[in-house]
Symmetry: C2
Subunit: 406 residues, 2 copies
Amino acid sequence: MENFNFKILKKDKKTAARAGVITTKRGKIETPYFVPVATLGSVRALNSDDLVALGAQCALVNTYHLHLKPGDKTVKKLGGMHKFMNFEKTLFSDSGGFQAFSLGLAREHNIGKIGNFFPGENGKKEREKPAANVKENLTRITDEGIKFKSVYDGSWQFMDAKASMKIQSNLDSDLIMAFDECTSPLSDKDYTAVAMRRTHDWAKLSLKYHNKEQALYGIIQGGWFSDLRAESTEFINSKPFDGIAIGGSLGNCKKDMHQILEWVIPQLDDRPRHLLGIGEVDDIFECVDRGIDTFDCVSPTRNARRGSLCIRPESGGNVKNKFRLHIASAKFREDKKPVDPHCSCFTCQNHSRAYLCHLYHANELSYYRLATIHNLHFMLDLMGQVRTSIKKDTFLALKKKWLAAG
Amino acid sequence: MENFNFKILKKDKKTAARAGVITTKRGKIETPYFVPVATLGSVRALNSDDLVALGAQCALVNTYHLHLKPGDKTVKKLGGMHKFMNFEKTLFSDSGGFQAFSLGLAREHNIGKIGNFFPGENGKKEREKPAANVKENLTRITDEGIKFKSVYDGSWQFMDAKASMKIQSNLDSDLIMAFDECTSPLSDKDYTAVAMRRTHDWAKLSLKYHNKEQALYGIIQGGWFSDLRAESTEFINSKPFDGIAIGGSLGNCKKDMHQILEWVIPQLDDRPRHLLGIGEVDDIFECVDRGIDTFDCVSPTRNARRGSLCIRPESGGNVKNKFRLHIASAKFREDKKPVDPHCSCFTCQNHSRAYLCHLYHANELSYYRLATIHNLHFMLDLMGQVRTSIKKDTFLALKKKWLAAG
């Protein structure tokens, strides 16, 4: 389509990694890229000028939440999301279908899209269900669409493919997602197949109803079942989507996720590939290795707010500590060093661990911005290192440097 | 003293207003000035770069709170408050004595430093006491000093004049306050006299023990009793303080506060005068009129966080609406205008009332920063208008324009 273009600049020789550029009418996104999540039109604790200062090339907004608050019709009246949040770069929106899981079986099963229901490295005992922390399932799903109970006022809202396309059109995001049903890792194969076929029907409806000014990504589902993933990949890849997204559920552990990518990606053509809702440091390397171009995930920003701040291998980051330090720790109370001494972000250039530790314990609002700036800068810088390494044929060396650090 | 200088540039002919410049080793403060409050080393929701961008010439930090968190000794180890919060402009610190009131009788009497215990315009009925919302008095006060129960961990802490001077020295603020006891508007004359004489003893001790590199302000107490205020003014004004601060309690209503200033200020010489903890728009005009040079107050920043955003007379602000709009109001949901169409702040230049209304209702952290930037910019801009008007002999016209708007 006119408003969307993806160009692969370099393919890695030893892996499926590739460096490219997505071009939208709002600008360019160099891939691989990590898309910051601005759920309600603001990356939590940041303003759009912070995103610009960070050099963010895009952000992702949430269709379900914005539909309810302030309402996509309100956003449209106000000139669309870019104008509403005063951010002129590319915006992705999700489809609303992830909330089928996050408000539904994720609550009922008390589980994430990577399930971890065989806990421990050698654990084989199936997780007890229902778990202790079970919450009400706030969804009712049929072939027609998804009924959601609003997290804001408890009212029931219905969304189908046509409505999702309309909402995303009202938001005026640049890259939109086909309506889908994200299932739980604890859903059985029969249910996962039913949900997948619904997702395929909704994919066709999304292609029919979407605003043709917006680039549309189809979403591959199928859980952690190889034949379902194969079926879904074949189906979605056969349709004229502008890009391909891979949705959850992603199995029990990260190895399952890697396996799923190995089933799916070799079947895909050269359209851009987005992995929905994933984005820890090790994931970036493993999934870029397997051919993913873009990621979105709340974890770097959420971790920041909870006191987990990213550190590079040069500053002690490794797989075991998840490339994070915990700023709440008493050991940082009098530490004059920046969070990551090898970081060039605003926070590290201006403030000490001691100050952030203090602000964190004092619940000062300024903490959240400084911490979020650091973690997002870290992720964007990491992606830059990854892109450069692919272009220079040193991706595997970079991956090894990071993942073998310790 | 070497590190401190105050020069009066212009005295208004019709009022006691004056324009001047305070010079410290960190820079200049043009007066009249509103000093932003950075209680724990951060103006709530702002970072020091925001303060610099706002053109703030100074800030005020809180001795009691910083003594407890992270501890003034920790701050000293980290190089003092300027380095700790990365803010190179002038810092004021209070004495800790205000917490004698805010954690003591303010809680027991459920009252502020302007009491409002004859509520309503013509109300004469004395406020019932103890009021419904009475809380534990967290202080024990003797001639030796003040025992405070920590709001953080419930431990009892003792502070006297010597300790207050030591803490403020550790903080390395530029302008410090003598240790004092702030009384309640509901304290009777006998108690207020006892507290005032204690404050005078502590003033002498503060002069003796303070770090001579820091400029020291003496604090006038005496409640709303004319003879006590006269006695306190005479005493404090007779001592070699670098500046004079006027402390609470300030009576039942703003008129009582104005009366107190009229008792006190004509007795003072030309040293700079600070009014502690006051700073709404009408207060600025009435108190500058009576000769106040600097103010500090949390209300503009606290109001911002609670959804009350400042507006000029040109944008509908007046005494009745307290120069504020309430961004939570449904009428702003689709309002594309900035908060104050006549404002040049970052927030108003970049964002709409609709977006702020949305962020406020969504509890987005970014709301707090945008709102705080606006209200502080408003206050600093107001002070600039006040200074210019004094220099141009138009202060009373400006005051009338603002206070008669409606």
